[in-house]
């Protein structure tokens, strides 16, 4: 056995008195040349487990409980002294992290960072190390390695940075590669390339891989063994097919079910509670119909919308950067238009411009018969109120100094809804109930709520002004999959109830497919394809759309 973790328990010192158990009795074995996936949502302790293997946890905060053991070739890593640990790191075990940008030293050249490990572990001369570094860069698929060697990390794209990280991790021919969420920060097409690269390298260098991820769909493509973790405890472990085909644990079953499937569109996504409850497997096979018919009332029409940002360039010049180049869309009442695209595609800019939070530089936004882009258009502010937006980051979208009551009653106060404070509070209480939060939340502050609950509060705030259009800008992207399903169900229910129209912006193709009647695919600020959701997913026309769709991990 290459690596054998048994009864690992790690406590974190939260404050002087408080301790928090991040990992509680985790055991698993990793044989040579296999890929083991450690799967779990945030707070499951998967990354802490991975870091503890290399002794990378801060010593002052993290305490490994006695009785834990991490055997590397039958030697306990936890008993290694610093010198032995240093030869383990880099030489025997390589690691790559989630954020390649911050994981590389920003002020040292790629070459220097690559050669450093080679010279340390193999005692190579500068020339030899340089030669080897060039080979490595070529091996991980960096074009023009000679030039890249002198580049700094910021001069590389995210995908290239992760390739460099991989080159660094494998530079000393390690027998184990730990990949800690290596593709989470990357776009889906890049993710595909990185996964292929890791699989290829593993094969060629006969390494074992410990793959840490939250994404079950990914796991099925790369792993042979799987360990499912929740709150520091292993819920289920075994060979991939066994876990996927016949999950024994309710939590594993829930995780597998709550991602929106690409093939079909259930009326409601299944959530954790459906599984954790008593045995009943709330099978709901009702399928949701999607699509727009010609009779649907169009309430928002965007024509040739353009948005530029000015970039300072050179001496006096400013160069416009075209963030959105002539986007058009039609949104029908009670329907959803999904906008997909990778980072930098302009999808968020488009959403913010429609919401009126950015000024347009061309084109028209026609809502209720008024062009919102026209300066001083009739009651533009009053109209804009009917278009609301739910943002991505649940931690930044609520004012931390307001109670939930303040947050919900402020819009009512601003628009003179409700006779007095008591009436407004009553309205707020109703809304809280509608989004599935307890009554006593009114007196609490945002920091007391989880990410999913905060998104519910943000949604309730939008509902206060009874919007006709809700723009969801990556609104569920920061949430764990199980929470994601709950919020998506809520959005769906609200649409059914209030006949709101949604602009659903996301990089997550599966989620967009589940939510949308029509889809807009954006790339480099332009809409490359748009139309009926099922149509586009089934028969993509544009090459970019095809590339995007083929990159989706289709696990399960």
């Amino acid at each position: 056995m290459l690596l054998s973790v048994s009864d690992l328990r790690i406590d974190f010192q939260v404050s002087r008195e408080e301790r928090f158990t991040a990992v509680n009795g985790v055991s698993f074995d990793l044989p040579e040349r296999t890929t083991l996936a450690l799967v779990g949502e945030s707070g499951s302790g998967k990354s802490v487990t991975a870091l503890s293997i290399l002794g990378l946890l801060p010593k002052s905060l993290a305490h490994v409980a006695p009785g834990s053991s991490i055997l590397w070739n039958d030697q306990n890593i936890l008993g290694f002294d610093d010198t032995r640990l240093r030869t383990l790191r880099g030489k025997e075990i390589g690691i790559i992290f989630q954020e390649p940008m911050s994981s590389l030293n920003p002020v040292l050249s790629i070459g220097m960072q690559l050669m450093e490990g080679l010279r340390l572990h193999f005692g190579l001369s500068r020339r030899q190390a340089r030669h080897r570094a060039l080979e490595l860069l070529a091996e991980v698929g960096i074009a023009n390695p000679e030039r890249r060697l002198n580049d700094y990390p910021h001069q590389l794209s995210g995908g290239q940075q992760q390739r460099v990280m991989i080159a660094m991790a494998i530079s000393c021919q390690p027998r184990l590669l730990i990949a800690d969420e290596p593709t989470t920060a990357l776009d889906v097409t890049i993710q595909r390339q990185i996964l292929d690269l890791i699989a290829d390298l593993q094969h060629r260098h006969s390494m074992a891989v410990l793959f840490i991820t939250h994404d079950l769909a990914l796991v099925s493509e790369i792993a042979t063994q799987i360990v499912v973790m929740k709150q520091g405890v292993v819920r289920e472990a075994g060979p991939l097919r066994q876990v996927f085909d016949a999950p024994q644990d309710a939590y594993t079953r829930a995780l597998l079910a709550c991602r929106p499937p690409l093939g079909e569109r259930p009326h409601r996504l299944r959530v954790i509670e459906d599984f954790m409850g008593e045995g009943h497997d709330g099978v709901e096979r009702k399928v949701r119909k999607r699509g727009v018919s010609p009779e649907d009332e169009i309430i928002l029409e965007v024509r040739d919308l353009c948005k530029d940002f000015m970039i300072n360039e050179g001496f006096w010049h400013k160069r416009p950067f075209h963030a959105v180049k002539g986007a058009s869309l039609r949104l029908a009442r009670g329907k959803t238009v999904g906008i997909v695209g990778e980072s930098g595609s302009g999808k968020t800019t488009l959403g913010l411009t429609i919401a009126g939070l950015l000024g347009a530089d061309g084109g028209e936004i026609i809502f209720s018969g008024h062009n919102l882009c026209q300066p001083g258009s009739v009651d533009s502010m009053a109209l804009r109120r009917r278009i609301q937006i739910v943002f991505q980051n649940p931690y930044a979208s609520l004012n931390p100094r307001f109670t939930v009551g303040d947050i919900l009653t402020e819009p009512l106060l601003l628009h003179g809804i409700g006779r007095n404070a008591a009436a407004r509070l009553a309205l707020a209480r109703d809304l809280l109930q509608r989004v599935g939060l307890p009554q006593d939340a009114l007196q609490r502050y945002p920091h007391e709520f989880s990410g999913g609950q905060r998104q519910r509060i943000a949604i309730a705030r939008c509902l206060t002004v009874k919007p006709e259009i809700l723009i969801c800008d990556e609104s569920v992207s920061a949430l764990d999959v199980s929470v994601q399903a709950q919020v998506l169900n809520l959005l769906q229910d609200l649409q059914d109830e209030f006949q709101m129209s949604y602009l659903f912006i996301s990089h997550d193709l599966a989620v967009v497919h589940y939510m949308s009647d029509q889809v807009l695919v954006m790339h480099d600020g332009a809409v490359v394809e748009s139309g009926d959701a099922d149509g586009i997913y089934a028969h993509p026309q544009h090459p970019y759309t095809r590339r995007l769709l083929s990159a989706i991990p289709r696990g399960v």
């Binding site: 990378l56 240093r86 790191r89 880099g90 390589g94 911050s102 590389l104 030293n105 040292l108 360039e313």
Partner: protein, 314 residues
């Protein structure tokens, strides 16, 4: 974008700020301050004297004309004569610059060096008893007034123990550096090192918390190499900027040191000028020191850009 164009642009951008400084000083002395003739003529002056002085100073002319005169003075460097000693202002600055630099330059170099070394040491031992003790000590040291250091230091080390001359200056650079400037420099360091250590320590600790340090550890590098190569190279960026930004603060410390130790530098000259209401000297000093500060900031910016590959000369 090359260096020359960058420099040109930054110098160009300095002009509005410099004009602002000129305007501020002008308004202060020619408008807020009232009629300088009364100051100059003393309390017992008769109206004829005052009118005469007013004419000489040009303060009987309209404000805009006075401003023009002021701008001309700045450009030509000719601020006339000191009101107190009749010595040409330009001559005063020319001769007083040397002693000020003899004091300032070693202080700057030593302070930076000592502060970085101590900050690295405490950052390496972060959380230890030594770290905490040093941090508390530095807080206490920072809280004692510079005046106390100077008064007590001068009394104990010069008057009582006689290790150093109480005050004085010579014409020889070496003799000044080894005899007269030693105590002032040491006392100046007492005050300026503590805040720098604290600041640099936070710069270094900020970097220690970064992801790339974890990567470096994962590569198997020693803590020493991580601190001295990876961390210091990053922390150097804010440190260098700060050294040059902190120059004005060092300057004010030097003012007091020069006065106490009778070092014939610019600082002592300025304090004497304020005591004697010697306006030409104060005006010239303010404008030129501001100019020097802006240039120091530019230098800091240049170094910052040279050290950080992420920014360019744009």
């Amino acid at each position: 974008m090359n260096l020359a164009a960058f420099l040109f642009r930054r110098l160009w951008q300095m002009i509005p700020t410099m004009l602002g400084v000129v305007l501020l000083v002008f308004l202060l002395f020619n408008w807020v301050g009232g009629d300088p003739a009364y100051v100059l003529a003393g309390k017992m002056a008769n109206p004829d004297d005052i009118a005469n002085i007013r004419h000489q100073l040009g303060v009987d002319r309209p404000l805009w004309e006075q401003l023009l005169i002021f701008v001309r003075q700045i450009v030509t460097g000719d601020f006339g004569n000191s009101w107190a000693t009749r010595e040409p202002v330009s001559e005063i600055f020319r001769t007083r610059l040397g002693p000020s630099l003899v004091l300032l330059v070693p202080m700057l170099v030593l302070e930076t060096f000592v502060a970085i070394v101590v900050a690295l040491a405490v950052a390496a031992l972060r959380g230890s008893v030594l770290d905490r003790t040093l941090m508390v000590t530095s807080t206490v040291m920072m809280s004692i007034s510079l005046l106390i250091y100077i008064i007590v230091g001068q009394y104990v080390f010069a008057s009582l123990l006689g290790w150093f001359p109480v005050k004085g200056w010579s014409d020889h650079l070496w003799r000044n550096l080894t005899t007269y400037a030693v105590l002032p420099i040491l006392l100046g360091l007492m005050v300026s090192v503590a805040p720098s250590v604290r600041l640099y320590r936070t710069f270094i600790l900020d970097e220690v918390g970064q992801d790339y340090v974890r990567t470096a550890r994962a590569k198997g590098l020693s803590e020493r190499r991580i601190l001295l190569v990876h961390v210091l190279r990053n922390a150097a960026i804010p440190i260098v900027t700060n050294v040059l930004m902190g120059l004005p603060a060092l300057l004010t410390g030097a003012f007091l040191l020069e006065r106490f130790f009778a070092i014939p530098g610019i600082g002592r000259e300025i304090i004497m000028a304020v005591e004697r209401s010697d306006f030409p000297i104060i005006k010239a000093a303010t404008v030129y020191v501001a100019m020097a500060t802006l240039l120091a900031n530019l230098l800091g910016d240049l170094l910052y850009r040279a050290l950080d590959p992420r920014v360019h000369f744009e």
